[in-house]
């Protein structure tokens, strides 16, 4: 039996703020920041958008891209670090909004930036054991960076949904295998009730991102007996533009490998949506037979690696929902004051 992606859908809010407009407020050097982060601008949610509304829009795009019967979706898992409720699932809102309720299971996932890929893995298990017909795995975030914190330059909003199934004729891409590498690493955290996350500063790179992405990626290629030359494209978690480029090089992937999925410079870090957005952008331009290597990273910390093979069904569904490139087009720019209002950093007395 094959397990894989039956459909996918993405959503990006239309607003953007430029790194230089944030830097101006805090007296930082925009040129140094842009060169260091390799991010020019990031998405900002509208005032009535949150991780749940973004998850719904992504899920609806995935449903309409494949035209499948929503009642076949028997599991809905939403990964986010910005679920709107502390207690009350986002996934029930999504399931109700796409019309998949009530005969189904649902739960929310949390694992910093890789909660969405963890949800994909859970769905893979459920469909391959025939416990459910189709599973919906979503990564959606409206991430927050504290005013003036380094994260404020990249914390963005967006969501991506993948419908996972096990009928070969329905799959747009077969997931050949997945491999995870997980340790208890305090590189990034947020305590209950706190509005902004804390992080270990420079500590987050080597023992966090690089150790876990390399651990998962090398582990999967070893398990499958593959090497970078076996793949047409590769996608890595994009907290900024520098980390995925560096980790790709360390693993032996080229600039061309990662090019289609590198969306961070115009989008920022969409956290749970980041790596999954890169995969969606890669699928948007993929050809039948292409092999895609993906590794997501979540602080805390872990890496989820996937080996994916695109089928000829991609050509039938690709144009039935907005492509990532289309969602990035025609943004509406806002200044820091309007951004602060949108993100609830300033409130009317």
């Amino acid at each position: 039996m094959s397990v894989g992606i039956v459909s996918y859908g993405a959503y990006i809010p239309k607003y953007r703020i430029k790194v230089e407009d944030i830097a101006r407020v805090w007296g930082d050097d925009a040129d140094i920041l842009i060169a260091g982060l390799m991010v020019n601008e990031k998405s900002v949610p509208d005032m009535d958008e949150d991780a749940a509304t973004i998850a719904v829009e992504a899920a609806r795009a995935a449903v309409s891209r494949s035209g499948l019967d929503v009642n076949r979706i028997e599991a809905v898992y939403t990964g986010s670090e910005s679920h709107p409720y502390a207690v009350k699932p986002t996934s029930t809102i999504v399931a109700e909004a796409i019309g998949a309720t009530p005969v189904m299971t649902a739960a929310d996932f949390e694992f910093a930036c890789k909660a969405g890929t963890a949800a994909m893995q859970a769905c893979m298990g459920l469909v391959s054991s025939n416990m459910v017909d189709l599973g919906l795995a979503i990564g959606s975030d409206v991430s927050q960076g504290a005013p003036g914190d380094a994260l404020e330059y990249t914390a963005a909003a967006g969501g991506v949904a993948y419908i996972i199934g096990n009928k070969e004729s329905e799959l747009v891409a077969v997931i050949e295998d997945t491999y995870s590498f997980t340790t208890d690493t305090p590189d990034f955290w947020r305590r209950e009730g706190m509005p902004y996350p804390e992080h270990g500063g420079r500590f987050t790179g080597e023992p966090g991102y690089f150790k876990h992405v390399l651990g998962a990626a090398k582990g999967l290629m070893e398990k499958l007996g593959t090497s970078p030359s076996d793949y047409d494209n590769a996608v890595f978690h994009q907290p900024n533009g520098k980390f995925p480029r560096r980790v790709a090089k360390m693993l032996g992937f080229s600039r061309e490998h990662i090019k289609p999925g590198m969306v961070v410079s115009r989008l920022g870090n969409t956290y749970s949506g980041s790596c999954m957005m890169g995969l969606a952008a890669t699928l948007d331009q993929a050809k039948s037979g292409d092999r895609i290597f993906m590794t997501a990273f979540g602080s805390g910390a872990g890496g989820d690696a996937f080996s994916i093979r695109v089928t000829d069904r991609i050509d039938e569904v690709r144009d039935q929902a907005p492509k990532v490139e289309e969602l990035l087009e025609d943004p509406v720019y806002m200044d820091y004051a309007m951004y602060a209002k949108h993100k609830g950093k300033i409130r009317r007395a």
Binding site: M47, D50, A52, T53, V56, P84, Y85, A97, G99
Partner: protein, 129 residues
């Protein structure tokens, strides 16, 4: 709005679920349980609207109701759905860009909440198509 009352109408808000009459082909939103034209000969069934339509008229709100002050100026409009019925909704659009006859499509947004401790109400708004 009470939690219970809001929840009872949730299905209609999330997906524009109304009804239609199989006898005369009319559509109803909010849903009607009896067709006013066919009366007893009508056959009412549940119907999920496509959600696309056009702006019949609109107003730009500068002085908002409690809980919506931070969103001003915003647009309230009457949307005539392609199947016929009209409804009032917030239209997410720059107030200087909207016009009568503008084509719109539905999106899923936060409609409001009952304070920081209360439930969040979600539902349908419209954006230019």
């Amino acid at each position: 709005m009470s939690v219970a009352r809001s929840w009872r109408h949730q299905v209609q808000r999330y997906n524009l679920i109304g009804t239609s009459c199989n006898s005369c082909g009319k559509y109803f939103y909010p849903p009607r349980t009896m067709c006013p034209g066919c009366r007893r000969d009508g056959e009412i069934v549940s119907y999920k609207f496509k959600g696309t339509g056009e702006i019949v008229t609109y107003t730009v709100i500068h002085t908002a109701a409690e809980g919506f002050e931070h969103q001003t100026p915003y647009v309230l409009g009457i949307v005539k759905l392609d199947e016929g019925p009209s409804l009032t909704s917030q239209i997410i659009v720059d107030p200087t860009d909207i016009y009568m006859g503008m084509r719109v499509r539905p999106v899923f947004r936060k409609l409001g909440d009952s304070g920081e401790k209360g439930i969040i109400c979600y539902g349908t708004k419209f954006v230019p198509e």
